[in-house]
Symmetry: C2
Subunit: 140 residues, 2 copies
């Protein structure tokens, strides 16, 4: 069980109810876009404003609490920051599943980076396709 209050404080942010609700929603579902987050949070916190959701998602992304997952042809989703992983993204339904595995050849990558004098700060590997759920629907 994660303690969102301490995650926020450890990253220099005040732990407001709004932020904790946002984190709970994202943590519960894994990946959500701004509207989805707002729609969920407003259920238990009816007075929250969409602007607050936007502001908080921005500041929590800047402070290493959240990570934006930009997507082809869709609104970006957000996830709670965690270690390197792969995203399996369904083109049909937009679902994202995490795979906790590192598939990148780190040595070759390091070589490329040093050749280019590129200072690494992070990476994302996204695999697009059709999830099992959507492919079974298509067949039936």
């Amino acid at each position: 069980m994660k303690n969102y209050m301490s995650i926020l404080k450890d990253n220099g942010l005040k732990a407001t109810f709004q932020r904790m609700h946002i984190l709970e929603v994202i943590g519960m579902y894994g990946h959500k876009d701004v509207d989805e987050i707002y729609a969920e949070v407003v259920k238990t916190h009816p007075s929250i404003s969409l602007a607050t959701v936007y502001k908080n998602i921005l500041i929590m992304s800047q402070n290493n609490v959240l990570v934006e997952v930009p997507l082809i042809g869709r609104k970006a989703k957000f996830e709670i920051k965690k270690d390197c992983h792969v995203h399996l993204i369904c083109k049909e339904c937009g679902s994202i599943e995490d795979e906790d595995i590192d598939l990148v050849d780190i040595n070759s990558l390091k070589e490329v980076l040093s050749n280019k004098n590129f200072l690494y700060s992070g990476q994302e590997l996204n695999v697009y396709g059709t999830c099992s759920n959507c492919s079974s629907i298509k067949v039936s």
Copy 2:
């Protein structure tokens, strides 16, 4: 030298001047967002409308001529479709450099996909950091 007319026709799209201009701009610069494309194209084709740029980018993406490159914290850019490659994305200036190298462990990926019954259609590996240009500016 690529022939954009035949790329369009091969993918079932009419080869209009607008589309070819858009492709020339993207091909020239590698990666551009919608506004940047419009700003360039309008120079040589003043009557083009932004709506036409939007419509064409969408249809060319749907027809495998273009690929959207969604980015953390920025508007998505578009590139001409090409084989699997890696993006080096500068967080400072937003530049994208392509590396024509495959860094993904394909066998492990295949295993993950088959375990999950996930039908693969494509992938993107994005590496974020600071490009040599921006890091030299910071030091000086």
